[in-house]
């Protein structure tokens, strides 16, 4: 119960923090890199909100991809993945084929991958309504469908690994369609630059 509460709280935190980070990052390149306190994840689950930094201009204007190439290169893999320019693609219930919205997200990711020689793992995830075992298959199909689509758009297959996590790692811990729709996804992890 409390863990679910925590999960929800963290999710909210993510939602609140993430856009703010994205907005700020592109224009604050000269800032000293955050101290490398990334000793493998401790008990904290999201980066704590940054301490007040004094007057800082929050700009509305931002590039669509959200990141300049210099900005990307100067960051560690961990940091890169934490505010990944690669967006998750979502799937309809029980489907492993990308719909229009999903294809458009993946196409965006492909554009980024064409400019960056990253190797990426595509994770297939499911909502909680199938069995744990069957969802491992469904997640695999989702990841494979995304990989195939990306290859068809010109990404070399050896830059793309797939893995299924079934329903083991829901993004949203809730038990409603709102949560489920966030959990039926392909999540992209940059594994090398």
């Amino acid at each position: 119960m409390s863990s679910r509460g925590l999960g929800i709280a963290l999710t909210i935190l993510c939602v609140v923090v993430a856009p703010a980070c994205n907005r700020r990052k592109p224009n604050t390149i000269p800032q000293p890199a955050p101290p490398p306190v990334e000793a493998p994840p401790s008990t904290t689950t999201t980066p704590p909100p940054a301490p007040p930094r004094g007057p800082e201009r929050v700009e509305d204007r931002q590039p669509v991809a959200g990141l300049t190439e210099e900005g990307i290169d100067s960051r560690s893999l961990d940091e890169l993945n934490r505010n990944s320019p690669l967006k998750p693609a979502f799937f309809p219930l029980n489907e492993s084929d990308l719909d229009d919205a999903g294809r458009s997200v993946v196409t965006g990711n492909v554009e980024i991958l064409k400019k960056n020689a990253w190797v990426v793992t595509i994770e297939g995830h499911c909502d909680e309504r199938g069995t744990a075992e069957y969802n491992l298959a469904l997640g695999e199909r989702r990841a494979a469908a995304v990989k195939n689509y990306m290859v068809s758009l010109g990404i070399a297959p050896d830059r793309l690994r797939t893995v299924s996590y079934g329903k083991e790692f829901p993004f949203d811990q809730g038990h409603s369609e709102d949560s489920w729709s966030k959990n039926r996804r392909a999540h992209f992890v940059i594994t090398s630059k």
């Binding site: 940091e79 744990a132 298959a137 996590y165 993004f171």
Partner: protein, 452 residues
């Protein structure tokens, strides 16, 4: 079937094992069969009482109390005996010796069998003596002495329970069996920069949930543990190298084996063959999820299914000749069966389900397959298909979603995952749907496997 009158020879062996040989030999001269088995009234199971074991010294008191309580629980679990609640006989004075057991008082509260036990403790050495009496005949029908340490007093009770079930009911009790399952209770963050994910590690506990211990310390995702038939090893899949690979932990030696050496493809859902020599598993090494078999050391890999659909969750028949599995070749997951040698002779088993997954074949003498059948848009229930007749019975009824059934080695019980108590937890239940017990309570726990 189980309530047999044992032939005299077998009885003599049992009696010798139980340490009551002189009595058996004596009676054998008078009658062809000796009634060592305590009966009940008419068709009802015999009523047993387990008064507190006698502590020979104050320092043995705690062990004595644990043993008697756990023995009561163990005996009640199999539901072969009717256990009289312990508070009913709190007032019956404790016998100080086997000769002083107040049979008249035990008879009065309806007991058919009553235990008398003593516990001695000196240093870390423990000696437990136990006797079971037939209250009607006032005869001792079981008698044994155990020597050991004070490390795990519950084990004395488990051993007594198993031996009493064997002698009285010719039943292999489960009191000394173990469960393995997957748990995220540590709330450790998954290694790597990925979202907010708790690691899931493999755990082991006694059948009743006591002594829960962590087996893996990978700080990764570990899934679908499966016991080797000798109960000394666990096979499971581990995501320590991004794609799941099969590992075998020899849990009493601390040795780790990695029979699948194809790190770029996924290898998962390992299950030992009944003789322990092979492992059926699931891999996408040929581009699509299929069932394969390999020798335990990873050699002799053989493909069993070959279909563009999904094939997974294999389970062996008790004689190792067949494998049941899940395929969604008709569009939805259903349970199928095939020959284990070459994957031939495939036929569909579940016909009345909209979706069925994770079949588990029962041990003998039962010939049935338990699975998760979809019961609502959001959930599953545990159902059991009798192979001889094709009849299906349901043992859970929509309280939460109920998945991943696994049989106890005597076939009388199943462990499964349920969301009925919030989160995912492991429960056990009788194959008749009675006797539900919650095994885990900390964190989320899933996909139990039951050791021999």
């Amino acid at each position: 079937m189980r309530r047999l009158r044992l032939p005299a020879v077998l009885l003599a062996i049992l009696a010798a094992a139980a340490g009551v040989w002189p009595l058996a030999a004596q009676n054998q001269n008078q009658q062809p069969e000796i009634e060592l088995v305590i009966g009940g009234d008419g068709n009802s199971p015999p009523h047993y009482a387990v008064p507190d074991f006698l502590a020979a010294s104050p320092e043995a008191a705690e062990i004595a109390s644990t043993i008697s309580q756990v023995l009561w629980d163990d005996l009640a679990f199999e539901r072969e005996f009717d256990l009289i609640p312990r508070d009913i006989y709190k007032t019956i004075p404790a016998a100080q010796s086997p000769e002083q057991v107040p049979f008249a008082q035990w008879r009065e509260i309806g007991a058919d069998g009553v235990f008398f036990g003593t516990v001695q403790k000196s240093g870390d050495k423990v000696v437990v003596q136990v006797r079971l009496f037939n209250v009607r005949t006032r005869q001792q029908v079981f008698s044994k002495e155990y020597n050991g340490t004070a490390a795990n007093p519950r084990l004395y009770a488990h051993t007594i329970s198993d031996e009493v079930h064997l002698q009285q009911r010719a039943l292999k009790g489960v009191a000394r069996t173990k469960l393995s399952f997957v748990s995220d209770r540590n709330k450790e963050r998954l290694l790597g920069p990925i979202e907010n994910r708790d690691v899931k590690e493999i755990y082991v506990s006694d059948y009743d949930g006591a002594n829960q211990r962590r087996i893996t310390t990978t700080r990764q995702l570990n899934l679908n543990p499966s016991w080797s038939p000798d109960g000394r090893a666990l096979a499971y899949s581990s995501y320590r190298n991004i794609t799941p690979q099969i590992f075998i932990s020899l849990i009493y030696q601390g040795v780790l084996e990695n029979p699948t050496k194809s790190p770029t493809v996924s290898n998962m859902m390992p299950v030992f063959s009944p003789d322990g020599s092979k492992i059926a598993f699931v891999t996408n090494r040929d581009g699509n999820t299929e069932i394969y078999v390999m020798n335990r050391d990873g050699s002799g890999v053989r493909r069993l299914t070959n279909h563009p659909a999904y094939e997974a969750t294999p389970t062996w028949s008790p004689n190792g000749q067949q494998i049941a599995f899940t395929s969604d070749r008709t569009g939805k997951a259903q349970v199928y069966i095939m020959n284990a040698a070459d994957g031939s002779n495939v036929r569909r088993l579940t016909v009345g389900e909209s979706e069925a997954d994770r079949a588990t074949w029962s041990p003998a003498p039962f010939n049935e397959i338990a699975y998760s059948g979809r019961s609502s848009a959001n959930g599953f229930d545990i159902k059991i298909l009798e192979l001889a007749t094709g009849t299906v019975r349901q043992i859970t009824f929509g309280e939460g979603s109920n998945e991943s059934p696994a049989y106890s080695p005597n076939g009388k019980h199943l462990a499964f995952t349920s969301t009925r108590a919030g989160g995912r937890q492991v429960f056990t239940i009788g194959r008749d749907g009675r006797g539900l017990k919650q095994v885990t309570r900390s964190g989320n726990n899933q996909t139990p496997a039951w050791s021999q």
